[in-house]
């Protein structure tokens, strides 16, 4: 996302609004602004859709791809808000149908904040996986390699797999939370390594469910029709849709509390041009989700998928390893270890910035809500 794109767009709106406010032709200008905005949206999502499925960097649903998606989100959010609020008479916002649409939008915003927090917890889990994978990599890279190292690697990889595969249902969370440490010899140690990342702090709240939040956010989310499609309800819909969409992608990609039953159908209006790429991304992720959901999984994050595959295969290797090991196998394993090391490196680089970006999105949603509430308050009829 280029910064200049955005600032010029915002500048344009600001100048326009100042010049033509309360003059004839205001509505035409608005329509033009909206069209420009939608063209930009379309470009951004097309770029995201064009990411390769499998590539060392910038693959579809990779950490860097998600960071890009969040950048797009932040840009859209700013621009959409500019179209809606900049230099605008507050009274316009509090008239029907906006008096209904805006509060609905704000409810979605609140839900999105909780999702951001849930996903932040999820990134912690991914980081935990990264640490375990790093242990496995360092064991597997040891020269000379022997059964001791194979066992060390296997231990880390088994922990990694169970950390990835604990399902995100609440029951398991509670079981973990209530489990008391066993003082007896070596009992209750089995699930220790992944358990703690699924314990209390993993929860947003008791009975909270990411998929239910998405479901609630899509209620009443309908594209404006007829004359409404070209005026204020349009940007409200766009902003709502983008919030829901981005949150949906985050939930699908990154593990978080209770994702079962996550819808694979968002109400995207496919009859307008700008949504084509967005719908493309949606379909692609939806398909993936359907394929993977049943298996119980770590999320569609490219790096996690990769880690899961490599981890599985390396467990098989460590399982069957016997000193001194076969020569021809070691090359193949070395390649996998190198690949796993690369995944770890990308996680190491990307996860903390990703977490900060999610937090930024969270703060943006908080501010966004405050701004809308302020405007609503100004526009509210005096009692």
């Amino acid at each position: 996302m280029t910064g200049t794109d955005q600032s010029s767009f915002l500048g344009r709106i600001s100048i326009r609004r100042n010049q033509v406010n309360a003059m004839e032709g205001y509505h035409e200008q608005e329509i033009e602004d909206l069209e420009l905005f939608q063209r930009q949206l379309s470009d951004r999502f097309t770029e995201l859709l064009s990411a390769p499925d499998d590539a060392p960097t910038e693959a579809f649903l990779s950490i860097s791809w998600i960071r890009k998606l969040l950048d797009v989100f932040l840009c859209c959010e700013t621009e959409c808000k500019a179209i809606l609020l900049m230099e605008r008479d507050a009274a316009q916002i509090s008239k029907p149908p906006l008096d209904r649409l805006i509060p609905e939008l704000l409810e979605r915003v609140v839900k999105a904040m909780d999702i951001c927090n849930a996903v932040t917890n999820g990134v912690e889990l991914v980081r935990h996986c990264q640490k375990l994978a790093e242990i496995a990599v360092s064991a597997l890279e040891q020269k000379p390699f022997g059964e001791g190292q194979a066992r060390r690697a296997k231990k880390a990889l088994v922990s990694l797999m169970s950390a990835m595969h604990v399902d995100d249902k609440e029951s398991s969370v509670q079981k973990t939370a209530e489990r008391s440490w066993s003082f007896g010899r070596r009992s209750g140690n089995k699930d220790r390594h992944h358990g703690h990342y699924r314990s209390l702090s993993w929860q947003v709240a008791k009975h909270w469910s990411a998929s239910k939040q998405i479901h609630a956010m899509t209620m009443n989310l309908a594209a404006p029709r007829g004359p409404e499609a070209s005026c204020l309800p349009a940007p409200v819909y766009i902003l709502s849709l983008i919030i829901v969409f981005v949150m949906w992608v985050l939930i699908a990609a990154i593990p978080c509390q209770e994702r079962s039953g996550l819808t694979t159908h968002l109400p995207i209006n496919k009859h307008v041009n700008w949504t084509h790429s967005l719908a493309g991304i949606h379909d692609k992720i939806g398909e993936e989700w359907k394929k993977k959901e049943k298996k119980g999984m770590a999320g569609l994050l490219y790096e996690m998928q990769k880690m899961e595959k490599l981890g599985q295969s390396l467990i098989e290797f460590t399982d069957s390893y016997q000193f001194p090991g076969e020569k021809e196998k070691s090359d193949e394993v070395a390649a996998q270890v190198a690949e796993l090391a690369e995944v770890c490196r990308r996680m190491d680089e990307g996860l903390v910035p990703l977490q900060m970006l999610i937090r930024e999105a969270f703060h943006r949603l908080v501010r966004n809500r405050t701004e809308f509430l302020d405007v609503l308050e100004q526009g509210a009829p005096v009692v």
Partner: protein, 644 residues
């Protein structure tokens, strides 16, 4: 231990040197453009070295046997625990140090044998792998022992002992502004009995006796490159312990949506709990956790702060998220004090936070704290403004019965009585806020006595609030049809206002001039009341012709009757009126008495000739006594009791 080590090197050392020389010679021999002479020398050297090697090998067979024996011994020590149901560190210090010794020995053998592995020797390789296998078993075991020690010797501390729930304004004003009609809860004089609130309080999260054990495990694992495993295990146990403590404090995770929908009373107690838990978690728990990390991992660079961050991050974010949710919620006036509590707590903890998370990785947490502080400040200002708006817009349809102190007045005054406790914070937050409404009223024209306190931002805002309150009370007084009752109402309420100011630290902010002015105000209303009520009553007793000695009997009778009726009417109405303050009631009765009784006595005295029982319905004493019944709050009548 070190003596043993030299056993391997004699053998190892020789082998090393020879192997290295051999290697160099071979490498040199591989060079293409060598003179024939040189090549010949190298070939000689090569065969010579080969001879030495085989010599050593025949000797070295003996060396390997030594190594193997030592490994066998260490293996026995390590493997015997694999079938033992006891934990090693539970079994005694001797067992633990024996085990560590065996691990150390194995580690040294692994290192020594590794150095040899340039030289391809099947036997050596086998021993090395066996050693590495044993070593892995030992490391895995140490990890388990570590977890066991941390869990077994982890200590929970009672939060009560740390901070007496020192919420100074605990019980006061949890009710919402809307429920203003209730008598406010009595303030409990729970003083701030904290034990050194600013002082850090560090406890042993893990029993001090086992710290050396944990350190020794850390040392072995880190020197053997098992640091990551150590960290994962350590973080996992400590993180869970923190979370358990967190829920032990009664704090639960709440979604933002939940917080926004929460009832005020519930939210208020959660805000209270947050303030309290935040202090304990940061100042006691995290400070202690940090110390533990430093004790155990001190010498290992950034490892200690990495572990500390991983342990505490999730819980900290939970706490922060609640704060965010509260700050973004509706800015209701009743939230103000709680918000200020949260703000002050956080502001107070910032320094601790900055120290705890001083490393670069922790800057994220630092930043979140600073942002939340800002947000809470904004929210507190918004609640402050909402408070004033609520005061001016508090409307009533009906007059407040009896003319006593209006609940709004009680609510507001009892509420702002708390403000001086937040003096510094409020000044800081209100510095750039204009009081706005009724600005003139708040301008202090106090002349030379203007102290620092009466001109601080909070003082302006306080006066602005009370002037809002006063104008609202004036509006409310207009609801009474009876002018006298209007004055009683205003007298009562302004008197209450002044008393509240005088009786608390508020007086320092309002200043003597304000108090004088308002004293005069309620006294004026008292006088106005007397005029409105008693002028007409007393007018019956007035002598129209002061010159003539007395009035006619019929005039007297008429006056008497008129006075009686008027007095009975006043008695009936005004016994139901109320002056809650006993002193004020007394003062008003006395001054009324002075006026009425004196006039009545003079009137009767002047017309002694006519004062037969029939027409003088009330004696002076009756009148005097009856006046004592006024303003009691329940209506009474004189009609049915013609005679006392």
């Amino acid at each position: 231990m070190d003596g043993c080590r030299s056993g391997v090197p004699t053998y190892e050392g020789d082998l090393h040197v020879v192997a290295a020389a051999h290697h160099i010679v071979k490498a040199l021999g591989a060079t293409k453009n060598l003179s024939d002479d040189l090549r010949k020398i190298l070939i000689d050297l090569d065969s010579h070295l080969s001879m030495i090697t085989s010599n050593i090998d025949s000797k070295g067979g003996r060396g390997l046997v030594d190594v193997e024996e030592r490994l066998d011994q260490a293996e026995r020590k390590i493997m015997r625990w694999e079938t033992d149901p006891m934990m090693i560190w539970d079994s005694g210090p001797k067992e633990a140090s024996d085990y560590l010794e065996a691990v150390d020995e194995t580690g040294k053998l692994v290192d020594g044998l590794r150095g040899l592995s340039v030289h391809e020797n099947r036997k050596q390789k086998e021993i090395l792998h066996r050693a590495m296998n044993i070593f892995q078993t030992a490391m895995s075991r140490l990890e388990e022992e570590l977890i066991h020690i941390l869990v077994r010797h982890g200590q929970q501390f009672e939060p009560k002992n740390m901070y007496s729930r020192s919420i100074r304004k605990d019980i006061v004003y949890d009710e919402s502004f809307v429920s203003v009609e209730d008598e406010p809860t009595k303030e409990t004089s729970s003083q701030n009995c904290s034990n050194d609130e600013s002082g850090e309080c560090i406890v042993d999260l893990v029993h001090a006796d086992v710290i050396p054990d944990i350190k020794s495990i850390a040392k072995v694992m880190f020197t053997s490159n098992y640091g990551p495993e150590f960290c994962e295990a350590f973080i996992s146990v400590q993180k869970e312990a923190l979370e358990q403590y967190f829920s032990f404090l009664g704090t639960e995770n709440l979604s933002i949506e939940d917080v926004l929908k929460m009832e005020w009373t519930c939210l208020s107690s959660k805000m209270n709990k947050w303030t309290w838990s935040m202090k304990i978690i940061v100042r006691v728990y995290l400070a202690s956790e940090k110390q533990l990390c430093d004790q155990v991992l001190g010498g290992l660079g950034s490892v200690s702060s990495y572990c500390f961050l991983e342990i505490s991050k999730a819980t900290i974010l939970c706490l922060l998220n609640f704060g965010e949710a509260v700050a973004m919620g509706p800015h209701r006036p009743e939230k103000l004090l709680r918000l200020l509590d949260m703000y002050e707590t956080l502001a107070d903890l910032l320094r601790d936070i900055d120290t705890l998370f001083s490393e670069e990785a922790g800057s994220f947490i630092q930043l979140q704290f600073h942002e939340l502080l800002e947000r809470l400040g904004e929210s507190a200002i918004a609640a402050f403004k909402a408070f004033r708006v609520a005061i001016s817009s508090n409307g009533s349809l009906y007059p407040f019965a009896g003319g006593g102190v209006h609940p709004l007045n009680k609510y507001v005054m009892n509420y702002i009585r708390m403000f001086p406790e937040y003096w510094n914070t409020l000044n800081l937050l209100l510095k750039n806020q204009h009081p706005g409404v009724a600005d003139q009223v708040t301008k202090p024209d106090y002349g030379p006595d203007t102290s620092l306190l009466t001109s601080c931002p909070m003082a302006y805002h306080l006066r602005s609030i009370t002037s809002c309150l006063e104008s609202n009370l004036h509006k409310k007084s207009q609801l009474y049809k009876d002018e006298a009752l209007q004055h009683i109402f205003l007298m009562n309420n302004i008197h209450y206002l002044v008393q509240k100011v005088k009786g608390s630290e508020l007086r320092l902010f309002f200043g003597d001039e304000w108090i004088r002015k308002h004293n005069a105000m309620f006294q004026q209303h008292a006088m106005n009341y007397e005029r409105a009520t008693w002028s007409s009553v007393v007018s019956f007793l007035k002598d129209n012709n002061p010159g003539s000695s007395s009035m006619s009997k019929s005039t007297f009778k008429e006056r008497c009757k008129g006075f009686s009726i008027a007095f009975e009417e006043v008695y009936k109405t005004q016994t139901s009126w109320s002056i809650p303050d006993p002193q004020l009631r007394e003062d008003l009765r006395i001054s009324t008495s002075l006026k009425v009784v004196l006039a009545y006595r003079t009137f009767l005295g002047r017309n002694l000739a006519y004062t037969d029982d029939k027409c003088v319905k009330h004696t002076v004493e009756h009148v005097e006594n009856s006046l004592l019944d006024l303003f009691g709050g329940s209506s009474r009548s004189l009609r049915n009791s013609r005679r006392w």
